[in-house]
């Protein structure tokens, strides 16, 4: 009985849903090249979320969109001073607050 409960839990891929209060927020994929944003919440399956964190994208961090690839799909971000690429559909799982572009 006990065993069953654990197994059934581990079979379900742990997934984090974006909380209701953030549903209206912009997503990382909405950024334009050169814009910066603060990460508010990261959705998606656990593996993806952990991977992002391992690579340095955490809630409250600032990320900058450098550019899109020539075929417009993966995007190039600047995170913690280094460059990272991410697909748009994955970036769509990341809620952000866009920071008004005051640099330059």
């Amino acid at each position: 009985m006990v065993r069953k409960r654990f197994q059934s839990k581990s079979k379900v891929i742990p997934r984090h849903r974006i909380s209701d209060k953030n549903l209206d927020k912009s997503r990382l994929c909405d950024l334009k090249p050169g814009e910066k944003a603060r990460v508010v919440e990261i959705g998606g399956i656990e593996r993806f979320r952990i991977r992002l964190m391992e690579m340095g994208i955490l809630v409250n961090d600032t990320v900058e969109l450098d550019k899109f690839a020539p075929l417009q799909d993966p995007m190039e971000l600047i995170v913690k001073g280094y460059h990272l690429s991410l697909r748009r559909k994955d970036a769509a799982k990341i809620c952000v607050d866009i920071i008004s572009n005051d640099s330059d």
Binding site: S10, E46, K80, S85, D90
Partner: protein, 757 residues
């Protein structure tokens, strides 16, 4: 004295390999991790009478068990307990790099941190107080610059100290918020009380709390662990309710929190505007408009260099092999042994050795792309396309390498994170036309499409890619459904790789090919030779030596006749000659007669050569047909007849299964020009043209060669990398069926529409 061991851990692109090379010099051995196929590099370091074994762990960003590399690195540290774990940290990217360090600290590894790329950090305006950082992390830290060798001596000394456990260092714990600490404490106690674990309690508890698959599965295998598993699940639920997030994410955040705290105390950022030269380079290389054309240009240059520059050393090797064979043929008395040695071993392996320059140049360029950081951009540029066939942009790299040799390329699929991506890339790889197939193309296209050879060959490469794309779509919709993993990839700083490391990596890769030559291809060549050499006594339908003699007599007679005719004409001409100013022998009419005689003689000689060659080919063909090789070919004939192939193509393709390079040398043996190697390929081209093959059949043959079952070495690589007979057999069956069908279509449709007659 037993050796001490050092394991090198670190993020990809942190300069791990450079430091490994700096520590071990050229004394290194490349192999595989047992059971899996991630590259394992091992070297030696001597320091003050101590001898260290240095193991290069796979580069990872973390020690979660989401990828094979992470699992290997983790298991090695846990199971083998190295005396020192050297963690290479990129000082210019401290935060992210220290994330792995925190896990190594948690693991309780005897750690030394090499703070690499200090020069770049300085350029970025980062001032790092290594002493304080060392105290905060409880780890010895040595600043180094791998590329220049700065700090390496100090690093060696520190490793030595830590290995000898002097001085004892205070171990620290990565602190977590107290709610988590409570749960860690509870799990630790339970693990200890139930004597499930004795050491690394904290690490194990944290991993369980993170829902780490490997740890949970391990625990599940222990008897009566249901209760504790249940309790752990409760702990996780407890934490997750408090923080409204998953436990893994909470723990990751806590680790970063610790790192941020440490960095705030130790790193001073002086305000400089760093020249981000990588970004400047990327303004062109990954530019929206220029990115793709520049990439295409790079590919074009790569192939141009590989084949054009490679042509010179290829010629030298060709010349050397030929000379060697001629010399040996002259020295050794004719016997079975000498034929085996010269025609079988040297001829067969020599035919493959010719590709060494191409392969080494190609690997050199691919290594240059990788080590400079361009490979990651290739993945970035190509991801959209690769994603369309259900693959990660990175999969482009092993597919690209497939153009060199499928064996290392299939090994290269290890850079992919998931088994599904790996298997899909492995299955598509054989359609990337490897360089071993090129000589077959050159030979056959050269013989049948001499004016369009380059176009035909280029189209074949392209066709392979088209087939790969179509197959990829098919596979990802049928047998390999499921999503491709999230694409989260670092675009590292561009850097100028050192010549030394470039050469070293090129050598490591090329060595695989040399091994293949020394084993599979050697054995294959000997088998093919044996099949072509026995049985010795064959009964031929014609008496070739008599016929040869007849032709020779015919030539003699003709020559005499021509001479007689000439003499007669001269006599007649002389009698009619009137001029006394110039002797007849110097007159125009005499010279005319002379040139008439010469041209007649030449045409007779040419005819003689022609007939003698035809006779020789006919004899060889008949002999070979009766040898074992011909019997195998005739056995295969019904299978390949619908494609317009004869037994000869059957044999060539059969032997090509051993290695595609052998197709050419098999033709050499089949046409009997293997013994007369001075103009080997010209001889084979002539023989091919005489063999009755038509351009249409030749095109089918080329397509068959492109697509059919990869060589034995590739099959071995597929088996090793997929660790599954099912996929291996599937790969063989699929490619063979596809090759047969397409060659069939070309042949049959061609005969309907009368294409390429």
């Amino acid at each position: 004295m037993a050796d001490l061991t050092i394991a090198i851990a670190g993020n990809p692109n942190s300069g791990k390999t450079t430091i490994f090379n700096a520590l071990t010099g050229a004394r290194q051995r490349v192999g595989n991790w047992p059971g899996v196929t991630v590259e394992r590099k091992e070297g030696r370091l001597s320091y003050q009478n101590h001898s260290f074994q240095v193991i290069d762990l796979p580069g990872t960003y973390s020690l979660s068990s989401y990828s094979l590399e992470e699992t290997i690195a983790r298991n090695y540290i846990i199971d083998e307990s190295p005396d020192v774990v050297l963690d290479i940290v990129d000082a210019s990217n401290l935060q992210r790099n220290l994330y792995l360090s925190t896990q190594l600290i948690e693991l309780g590894a005897p750690l030394v941190i090499a703070l690499n790329m200090m020069d770049i950090a300085e350029e970025k305006g980062l001032e790092i107080d290594t002493k304080t950082l060392s105290v905060l992390l409880g780890v010895a830290i040595v600043p180094v610059v791998g590329r220049t060798g700065f700090g390496i001596d100090k690093l060696k000394a520190t490793i030595n100290d830590v290995a000898l456990k002097s001085p004892q260092r205070r171990r620290i714990q990565i602190p977590y918020p107290h709610e988590i600490e409570e749960e860690i404490q509870a799990i630790s106690e339970e693990l200890a009380n139930r004597s499930i674990a004795e050491d690394r309690l904290r690490w194990k508890s944290i991993k369980l709390l993170e829902r780490d698959d490997t740890s949970i599965n391990k625990l599940k295998q222990i008897k009566n662990s249901e209760i504790i598993i249940n309790n752990i699940e409760d702990s996780i639920q407890h934490i997750e309710t408090i923080y409204n997030d998953t436990s893994g994410a909470i723990i990751s955040h806590a680790r970063y929190g610790f790192i941020q705290g440490a960095i705030q105390e130790c790193v001073r950022e002086t305000k400089v505007t760093p020249r981000d030269y990588s970004r400047s380079i990327d303004k062109i290389l990954t530019n929206r408009w220029l990115g793709l054309p520049v990439f295409a240009l790079m590919m074009w240059i790569m192939f141009k260099i590989t084949y054009d520059i490679g042509a010179y050393p290829t010629d030298w090797i060709d010349y050397g092999v030929t000379r060697l064979m001629n010399i040996l043929n002259g020295m050794l008395p004719e016997s079975m042994i000498s034929s085996l040695l010269v025609d079988g071993v040297i001829g067969g392996v020599g035919a493959v050795a010719i590709f060494l320059p191409n392969i080494f140049i190609l690997f050199f360029i691919i290594t240059l792309f990788e080590d400079s950081g361009y490979m990651a951009r290739v993945a970035f540029i190509m991801d959209r396309i690769m994603h369309a066939i259900g693959l990660h942009g990175k999969a482009f790299i092993p597919l690209l390498m497939g153009f060199g040799c499928n064996v290392p390329a299939i090994m290269g699929t290890r850079i992919l994170e998931t088994r599904r991506d790996r298997i899909l890339t492995i299955l598509l790889n054989p359609f990337m036309s490897c360089s071993a197939r090129l000589p077959v193309y050159v030979l056959v296209a050269g013989a049948f499409f001499p004016t369009h050879a380059a176009t035909v060959i280029f189209s074949l490469y392209l066709f392979g890619i088209v087939i790969a794309i179509a197959s990829g779509k098919l596979f990802s919709k049928t047998i390999l459904t499921g999503m491709s993993r999230p694409f989260v990839m670092e675009l590292p700083q561009y850097q100028l790789p050192t010549v030394r490391s470039l050469l070293l990596h090129t050598w490591e890769r090329g060595y695989v090919f040399i091994q293949k030559m020394g084993t599979v291809i050697l054995v294959g060549s000997i088998i093919i030779w044996t099949l072509g050499y026995f049985p010795r006594n064959v009964t031929l339908s014609r008496d070739y030596s008599t016929e040869r003699e007849e032709i020779r007599i015919w030539l003699e007679q003709k020559t005499v006749q021509i001479e007689q005719k000439f003499k007669e004409s001269v006599t007649i001409g002389e009698s009619q000659y009137t001029s006394t100013m110039i002797p007849f022998e110097k007159s125009e009419s005499y010279q005319l007669l002379q040139s008439q005689r010469d041209s007649l003689r030449n045409s007779i000689l040419y005819q003689y050569d022609e007939e003698l060659t035809n006779l020789q080919y006919a004899e060889m063909a008949e002999t070979m047909k009766q040898r074992w090789i011909g019997r195998v070919g005739r056995l295969l004939e019904p299978l390949v007849a619908p494609l317009g192939f004869t037994w000869r193509e059957g044999v060539a393709l059969f032997s090509g299964f051993v290695a595609k390079e052998i197709v050419v040398s098999t033709y050499g043996v089949l046409f009997g020009v293997g013994e007369n190697v001075s103009e080997e390929s010209r001889g084979v081209i002539e023989s091919l043209r005489h063999s009755g093959m038509t351009p249409r059949v030749a095109l089918g043959f080329l397509i068959f060669t492109l697509l059919y079952t990869p060589c034995l070495a590739t099959v071995a690589a597929i088996k090793r990398e997929t660790a599954s007979w099912k996929y291996t057999i599937f790969s063989i069956g699929y490619s063979f069926t596809l090759a047969w069908l397409l060659a069939f279509i070309v042949f049959q449709l061609g005969s309907v529409f009368n294409w390429v007659s």
